[in-house]
Symmetry: C2
Subunit: 332 residues, 2 copies
């Protein structure tokens, strides 16, 4: 039962045939007699034979692993986005017999990424976000390893998979504008992240397509620490605003809390919406209007694309259009 270390050679000898034939029977490459194949399959099934992946990796220079680059800045640590993406990726990779090697990168330290690339531990990489000065992307590009980035990028050589953040943010903003709101504030994270810029663009587009102009005094970007939000809210209130759009739900949660401190009623005194929704917002009161994306599906699509590239097919960048605008109490 626990014949653990049985090799292809053992199989061959036991069956009185050559390793080559066994190999072919298993891989399906090359012609093998039906009866022979059946014999082999039955035997390996019975004895629970598994080809040694390391040996195969060495022989055909493939690892059947993909790398996933996972940012772990202070902010990203608690976001469920990456976890959800990974689940989607895992579903796809699993079904292709691939496994996932994670590479956590903090700040500019690419050493863990370099290690898995230089050591040939992966056949390709998924980058889970894009940045303005994207050192990981540049490194990967230079290294020649197949990779896919989740998020937008300027570089046409890089294959990306992304949600339609621009369209979604524009739509949500438009809805608020259509309600007659005009003095809308925007609070968002690091402008080093492309997604922050895209969300901002969507916000601006909504204004422009209605012939309105964004008041830059109401835009707060690079707010990487929720501590600052209390002050921002106080400042904003003096400016007599109609509503606040938060780029993610962590910011939204903080905004709601600080409003409560200031005895600001939502939505009566102020409307609040978020460009990203996760369970963080689930139990807030009032419930928050937000955008809902399918992160899992995004990850799955990224993995699918990467595997296609690895298989030699020429894949193209994709934009997933399915998102939901969830209108809740906070903007009534």
């Amino acid at each position: 039962m626990t014949d653990d270390k049985i090799t292809i050679d053992d199989v061959a000898k036991a069956l009185g045939i050559s390793k080559t034939t066994v190999s072919r029977a298993i891989s399906g490459k090359g012609r093998v007699g039906n009866s022979t194949r059946a014999k082999v399959m039955e035997f390996i099934e019975k004895h629970n034979y598994r080809p040694n992946v390391m040996a195969r990796a060495l022989a055909q220079q493939r690892t059947f692993n993909i790398g996933v680059v996972w940012p772990c800045d202070y902010n990203a640590v608690d976001l469920p986005f990456f976890q959800r993406c990974m689940i989607g990726m895992s579903e796809i990779t699993s079904s292709f017999g691939y496994d996932i090697v994670v590479s956590l990168i903090a700040g500019d330290d690419l050493s863990s990424l370099k290690r898995i690339i230089e050591n040939h531990k992966v056949d390709g990489v998924v980058l889970t976000r894009t940045m303005v000065n994207d050192t990981p992307a540049m490194y990967l590009k230079e290294s020649g390893v197949p990779f896919v980035a989740i998020g937008k990028t300027d570089d046409p050589d890089i294959i990306t998979v992304d949600n339609d953040n621009l369209g979604a943010c524009k739509e949500l903003t438009s809805i608020l504008l259509a309600k007659g709101l005009r003095k809308l504030a925007l609070i968002g994270g690091s402008t080093n992240h492309i997604i922050t810029r895209t969300r901002y663009e969507g916000f601006v587009d909504a204004f422009e397509s209605m012939g309105l102009e964004v008041d830059q005094n109401l835009v707060y970007l690079d707010i990487e620490n929720n501590i600052k939000i209390g002050g921002i809210i106080k400042t904003l209130l003096k400016k007599n605003i109609d509503g606040v759009i938060c780029m993610d739900d962590s910011i939204a949660g903080e905004v709601i809390s600080r409003c409560r401190d200031e005895h600001i009623r939502i939505p009566d005194d102020l409307r609040v919406a978020s460009f990203y929704n996760s369970s963080l917002l689930e139990s807030t009161v009032p419930s928050v209007t937000s955008l809902n994306f399918n992160d899992r599906n995004l990850g799955a699509e990224a993995a699918r694309t990467l595997l296609a590239i690895i298989a030699g097919e020429n894949a193209q960048s994709k934009m997933l259009k399915n998102y939901e605008v969830i209108l809740k109490e906070s903007t009534k």
Copy 2:
């Protein structure tokens, strides 16, 4: 600069010595002349030579990967716990030249775990939680692969690393009892997870050590879905309770929201505390009394232990004592 496919043989030939010597110079095993070693080191530095891990893995039957089993039930998906643990593990494994292969397992489907084990893709495994019917643990034990579990277990053969959940939960409960609260409710998740049982034990211990008895009518376990919490709160309010202890902050957040619905003031009408704290609770109002553990450190310790086992040292189970009881507004 981009001499990517340079092998040990290339190094040997370029230096006019044998592969063996180069190998020894790099690994440090076996005696090599100092001048020779220096030459080798200089050369590989300059030409950026990296030993092929796959070849090494094949030769010495080691992969320099560890597997991390990551549950992805509906509940676990958004918990930051696993992510934080993994960051801690990654810090340690990285410093030993190891990488992390994740195995997401949903429900009883062990296929991804089996794949990485049977394919010899990892040298050991970290199990990130323990269960009552722990099929992953049993499988690993049977397979003979070195592994460490995060969490408690009955099986003395299994090496574990865990926080002192029992002591922490007992302490927090004791503090509330010491404030004179007596009718304390408890809401928690699946009793299939050992941690739920441990937390419950801590709760009970606190009562017993004060000569009090737990009112089982106020204990709600196996609440795996926050939707039920609204009803529970309503029921509890009729029972005229003093406070609610939630096993994690997702539950706590929900409890607070539902209390607000019912116009219950916290802490005036009801005290609330949580056995686990994450950023989910960060911006709630009122701030919630809770236990604070260092998940990252927990992961690091687990990785350290696993690597020790892999290295052949005989490691022992560890309990990390450092946690914080954070007293906040919700129990004033």
